[in-house]
């Protein structure tokens, strides 16, 4: 099986596999339900206790100083064994790189350990009703309060994943209304229990409140809750958006596991649906391509390459693959394809892929302009 791994890498993989098989509870109730959130936090605690919660972090903060290769191997094993989705994901993949790179020593000590063990779940507060794909159009503002040594936040955020169950939020607010679009934004961290914050859960297609609106009404955040310099928020947010951790958006293990489930379904029901053969085969090819593309990326990053805009190529591919794979499974289910349960629920989840974290239209613009060099 390509690619080939060093002995150390193979040992790491084996250890991860053994631990996961012994400890994974398998599929849990949706993390966006109250009971599901409790179970998922419990799982994060278990992961952290085994030091498998944040393998790529320094040992000081609960990690294993894993290499990029080891981290991707861990993710492969994680999905192969069918472990639960990660309620800590937003914090670990979107916020932690920012705190490592731009946060103060105090912020690292204060926020990272409790993020790593699931004590504190984080929700991002990026989009606003009038700033979705056009994120730079953010209007929510933070006004200076010198007396109290901090800022007063007002405005509204939306499409905030996990906010209905989270403890903390992070996001951009406009601190200089006179500055143009990308300038004058500042990166804030705040407990969602702060007075003046109201979280309104929004039910997704599957009925669960997977995201929420967050309303800010004179919310005070002390200076300790600002990451980096005031006004540098956009640059800070973007500096980690395209780094190698951008790989973590969707682990290849996830699609390989889904392709394996599709093949199992094909073995069971394929004989009566020969016309679906190509779609089943193509789902497997694409999952395999995604896995190898990831390893190629890891190899190139370790050679010094920067992912940058190629994260958009990646996102276009996996989001389409995910929808296609699940639609094929639904066709194989025949008349049962309309019943809620494993495949339908995963299909509804997959449908978010082409729109979230920058719609695929935005991603294609980025690929065309920043990779192909077409004129703006």
């Amino acid at each position: 099986m390509t690619p080939e791994f060093t002995e150390r890498e193979q040992a790491f993989r084996a250890e991860a596999r053994d631990w996961l098989r012994a400890n994974s509870p398998g599929r849990l109730p949706s993390m966006d339900t109250p009971a599901g959130a409790v179970a998922h936090r419990e799982w994060e605690r278990t992961l952290a206790a085994g030091r498998w919660s944040v393998v790529a972090w320094p040992a000081e903060f609960g990690g294993r100083d894993a290499t990029l290769t080891e981290w991707v191997l861990f993710e492969e094993e994680y999905y192969t064994c069918g472990a639960p989705t990660r309620i800590a994901q937003n914090g670990i993949s979107l916020l932690a790189p920012v705190i490592f790179e731009h946060g103060s020593a105090e912020q690292r000590q204060r926020y990272l350990p409790s993020m790593a063990d699931g004590t504190d779940v984080w929700a991002q507060a990026w989009s606003e009703p009038e700033a979705g794909s056009d994120l730079a159009a953010i209007r929510s503002r933070a006004d200076r309060d010198d007396d109290r040594g901090g800022w007063v936040l007002n405005g509204q955020k939306t499409w905030s994943s996990r906010a209905a169950v989270a403890d903390h939020g992070f996001g951009l607010f406009r601190t200089d209304p006179a500055a143009e679009r990308h300038r004058g934004l500042t990166y804030f961290l705040f407990p969602l229990a702060t007075p003046g914050i109201t979280v309104r859960p929004i039910a997704q297609l599957d009925g669960d409140p997977g995201f929420a609106e967050i309303f800010f009404d004179d919310v005070f955040v002390p200076d300790a809750g600002v990451v980096g310099d005031p006004g540098a928020g956009w640059k800070i947010a973007m500096s980690t958006a395209g780094n190698e951790r951008g790989l973590s958006l969707r682990s290849p293990g996830r699609f390989c596991a889904a392709a394996d489930r599709l093949l199992a379904l094909w073995r069971e029901r394929g004989a009566s649906s020969p016309h679906l053969r190509d779609r089943v085969v193509d789902a497997w090819i694409q999952a395999q391509a995604y896995r190898l593309y990831t390893w190629e990326t890891v190899a190139k990053v370790e050679q010094g390459w920067s992912v940058g805009a190629h994260g958009s190529v990646n996102k276009l591919f996996w989001s389409q693959l995910d929808v296609d794979l699940h639609e094929t499974a639904l066709e194989l289910l025949g008349v049962d394809q309309e019943l809620r349960g494993g495949w339908v629920d995963d299909y509804l989840f997959a449908l978010a892929g082409p729109i979230y974290a920058g719609t695929n239209q935005i991603q294609r613009n980025i690929v065309a302009e920043r990779i192909l060099g077409l004129p703006r």
């Binding site: 979705g132 009925g207 929808v323 639904l330 066709e331």
Partner: protein, 324 residues
């Protein structure tokens, strides 16, 4: 040669549009999904006043004895406006299966809008939609028609489709193959028409939204990528519609090609509505991924109806058999 709606048919469609636009069908559908049937039943009675449930019922039983063409017009409008309830089963299937049996008087109540009817007919329709609160029947393979005994609820991807397990009760009649086939074709064509209407609604809503929603300083609908996605939906729907009309004519004429042409209509309408749904989600963005946005009602309805009364696999298989 005349292969377009007549003036009377246009007028019928306009009547339904006017009635449904003012009758708050979305609110009724949202209540229906929660098991609150009153607004949906009020809508049902309003549509009975203009003859919708009577369309395919014989005149001697108080019906209008209209044909599949009129039925297809009504179903498209029901799909467009999202009216909840077992319309396909009550309006298209019940008259085809019950007339002439000991249960045919049910049709008089159907025509009057007083009774809702639902069916389970495995293997293609294993569960009965909206069976609670409806007269339920069970059609076994081979054509044996029974009373239906309603079992537990099965969750559909579309919460507005309340599906129930059904087992056979008292035997009513043994029906001829041709009759069973005709009922199935009527249901599949009705389902195609509902999908067509749903697709039209998704397109119309998307066009409205991208005309208003602004990003990067201009309406989203000004971006060429968005324009082209929606243009492709317009094309798909425009070429699905005549297949519905053609199949309805074949069905009305009792043509031997009717089954084949119904399958073509169901496949094309399901594909077009699916494209409309995926595109609506794409051009709306996250807002359409929420239950509170009305778009979600049609997104989930389309996904469920794609498999109802024959999956794409079934209909394409029937087509290839008819063609070779």
């Amino acid at each position: 040669m005349n292969f377009a709606w007549t003036k009377e048919q246009h007028a019928f469609a306009e009547t339904l549009d006017a009635l449904l636009s003012s009758a708050r069908p979305v609110a009724a559908a949202r209540s229906w999904a929660l098991g609150e049937r009153d607004p949906g039943l009020a809508l049902w009675r309003a549509l009975a006043d203009v003859g919708v449930p009577a369309l395919c019922v014989p005149e001697r039983l108080g019906g209008l004895d209209a044909g599949p063409v009129e039925a297809a017009i009504a179903f498209e409008k029901l799909g467009y406006h999202g009216a909840p309830g077992p319309w396909i089963e009550s309006v298209a299937v019940a008259p085809a299966l019950l007339a002439g049996t000991s249960e045919e008087t049910v049709l008089t109540e159907v025509a009057a809008g007083e009774t809702l009817v639902s069916f389970a007919a495995p293997p293609l329709t294993p569960r009965a939609v909206d069976a609670a609160g409806a007269r339920v029947f069970f059609l076994a393979e081979g054509g044996a028609l029974h009373q239906g005994v309603t079992g537990p609820l099965a969750a559909s991807v579309d919460p507005g489709r309340r599906l129930f397990e059904v087992t056979p009760g008292d035997h009513i009649a043994d029906l001829a193959d041709s009759r069973v086939a005709g009922a199935f074709d009527g249901a599949a064509l009705a389902c195609a028409a509902v999908l067509l209407g749903a697709g039209e609604r998704l397109l119309a809503t998307s066009v409205d939204y991208v005309g208003e929603r602004r990003q990067f300083g201009r309406p989203v609908g000004q971006f060429q990528a968005v324009k082209h996605l929606l243009a492709d939906v317009r094309v798909a729907l425009d070429f699905a519609r005549p297949l519905v009309l053609g199949a309805a004519h074949e069905l009305a004429a009792g043509s031997p090609d009717a089954g084949r042409d119904v399958s073509a209509a169901k496949v094309a309408c399901a594909d077009a509505a699916h494209l409309a749904a995926r595109t609506a989600l794409q051009v709306h963005g996250a807002i359409a991924y929420t239950v509170e946005c009305d778009v979600s009602l049609w997104l989930l309805k389309v996904r469920a109806l794609m498999a109802a009364w024959g999956t794409a696999g079934f209909h394409r298989d029937r087509l290839i058999r008819a063609l070779i």
